[in-house]
């Protein structure tokens, strides 16, 4: 028989592990529903363990924190979204600008996660959640199969609750311990490395042709040598975020170090002038759950829910690279479902099924299911190697004036570039159709 918890043990309705966006959204919903909730964070403050390659898309916050944009600690509002295909010395950029994204209710923003995550956690705290930092959850407490709390690294640090919501990040040892994950395959993960490069505000405004608190998000394909992945460059208020996302097994196999690959991209003629003269303010690294829907764990067990990176909810679908919004959406749904289950006195897996229903009804699982083939396609040789070369090659030939030779014409150029890069028309068509299906 498992030991009965002692009465003196701190007892909460729900324990949320990890005060990232998922955990804080869950704790916020629970506190608002009148449940007692403990929000555990192993870092000295929320966000201190978190980095991203990214943009925070705020629509998911509209219901949670009305007019969030007036108070959220953001760096710049993204009003330019660029996609760059590059080879060693060429770059083709599709650049979209919308000043509507620079006005309320806004679209996406750059932010420092230690600031943003701490802000969101403070919202949960203000609503009544008990935030405990500098405390690592070391394992699950169980009664038979049922999760009844977590052990922590504090003296007498066991915490008892009716539901544990695991928002403990990509490595989620708790979800693994609960048996919710299949054995992990490194091919499902990427490594993100990033430099925050300090530059004066005016220099950034000028180099990126933006004003005020408007900023730029550049996503880059073809900048990672032989390793499937991609690059990114974002503007903060007075710094840039420059980084790479690299397939873990392929990075390990290639024998080159991640910061070397990043150095290559920084030297590229399309990138170097943008970052010139800036000092590295902070280097950071994090693993990303890349494979989306297909790598997701069981999201619900007896007394346990999983949300955010812990549930592999990053959407790494090439043209869409999102994670914080999925974490918030999932965390809020977990909080609502847990609150309901506690109220109804059924926190078994069956009693918590409302969580999955909520995720299926909103963007979190709908998007993931719809774009479940996208991560694989984006990491394919075609997208990684052939597409950037062919696209840049076509541009090179298209805009190189060859007088006195006559212009070859579009069809000939495309055909010759495809041939040069070993892409057969038949494969191009079938892959193109597949891409259309994949992206809905």
């Amino acid at each position: 028989m498992p030991e009965q918890p002692e009465l003196e043990m701190p007892e909460f309705d729900v324990i949320v592990v990890g005060a990232g966006p998922a955990g804080s959204a869950a704790a916020l919903e629970l506190a608002r529903a009148g449940r007692s909730v403990c929000l555990l964070e192993r870092g000295p403050y929320p966000g201190s363990k978190n980095m991203y390659g990214g943009v925070i898309y705020g629509r998911v916050l509209d219901n949670l924190i009305p007019r969030w944009w007036e108070e959220a600690p953001i760096q710049r509002w993204v009003t330019r979204r660029s996609t760059m295909l590059m080879t060693g010395n060429q770059a083709l950029t599709v650049d979209y600008r919308s000043n509507a994204w620079g006005e309320a209710p806004y679209n996406g923003a750059t932010a420092f996660r230690p600031e943003f995550d701490a802000w969101l956690a403070a919202k949960a705290e203000a609503a009544g959640a008990v935030l405990i930092c500098s405390t690592t959850a070391t394992g699950l407490l169980r009664d038979g199969k049922r999760v009844i709390g977590v052990s922590t690294d504090r003296p007498d640090g066991d915490l008892i609750a009716q539901v544990v919501i695991c928002c403990d990040g990509v490595n989620s040892f708790l979800a693994k311990e609960a048996g919710l994950y299949a054995p992990s395959d490194p091919a499902n993960y990427t490594l993100g490395v990033k430099e925050t490069i300090a530059l004066p505000r005016e220099v950034i405004d000028e180099r990126f042709a933006v004003r005020g608190n408007h900023g730029v998000d550049i996503e880059i394909l073809g900048c990672t040598d032989k390793v499937p992945g991609g690059g990114f460059l974002y503007t903060n208020a007075e710094s840039l975020a420059v980084g790479l996302v690299l397939s873990l097994p392929e990075l390990a196999k290639c024998g080159r170090r991640p910061e070397e690959l990043l150095a290559d991209m920084k030297k590229h003629p399309a990138i170097a002038p943008l970052i010139e003269g800036g000092d590295v303010k902070e280097y950071s690294a994090h693993v990303i759950p890349e494979a989306g829907y297909k790598m997701m764990p069981e999201l619900i067990g007896d007394g346990i829910l999983v949300a955010g990176d812990a549930a592999a909810m990053c959407l790494a679908a090439g043209i869409w690279l999102e994670g914080v919004n999925f974490a918030i959406g999932a965390g809020a749904a977990a909080g609502q479902a847990a609150a309901r289950a506690v109220q109804r006195r059924d926190t078994s897996a069956a009693g918590l099924q409302d969580y999955r229903r909520r995720l299926e009804a909103n963007f979190v699982l709908s998007d993931h299911r719809k774009f479940r083939e996208a991560p694989h396609l984006v990491m394919s040789d075609l997208a990684q190697q052939q597409l950037p070369r062919i696209a840049c090659g076509v541009m090179e030939q298209l805009f190189t004036v060859t007088n006195p030779d006559p212009k070859p014409g579009m069809r000939k150029i495309i055909r010759s570039q495809m041939k040069l890069n070993n892409l057969k028309l038949r494969d191009a068509i079938s892959q193109g159709m597949k891409a259309l299906r994949t992206f809905g």
Binding site: N50, L248, P249, A252, P258, Y283
Partner: protein
């Protein structure tokens, strides 16, 4: 493209930009007997903090102190049980500020 105008920073300067609140207990341990038998040793190049260093006698030296706690090493490791991985004590380890 000349690299002179955009000098790459040294690995030491890169890592000195990051705050680590080091705890006396190592949160990651490496079984160097198993590493000595490993032919791939992919952790050595993949670890973003460069914490795995090959030794002359065929082993692997490991330093936990400047660790990003990312998980790359145990995920790429193909020697069962060679790397034992956990999080550092609460409040310790990497502390990000501007990322």
């Amino acid at each position: 493209m000349s690299t002179d105008s955009y000098p790459e920073i040294s690995f030491e300067s890169r890592m000195s930009s990051v705050e680590f609140r080091v705890h006396e207990r190592a949160h990651i341990t490496v079984d160097d007997k198993k590493c000595a038998d490993c032919s791939t040793r992919e952790c050595i190049t993949a670890c973003p903090a460069n914490l795995f260093v090959p030794t002359a006698d065929g082993g692997v030296l490991f330093n936990y102190e400047l660790c990003f706690e990312c998980g790359t090493c145990y995920m790429v490791c193909n020697e069962e049980g060679a790397i034992t991985w956990s999080y550092p004590e609460g409040g310790h380890g990497v502390v990000f500020h501007a990322t």
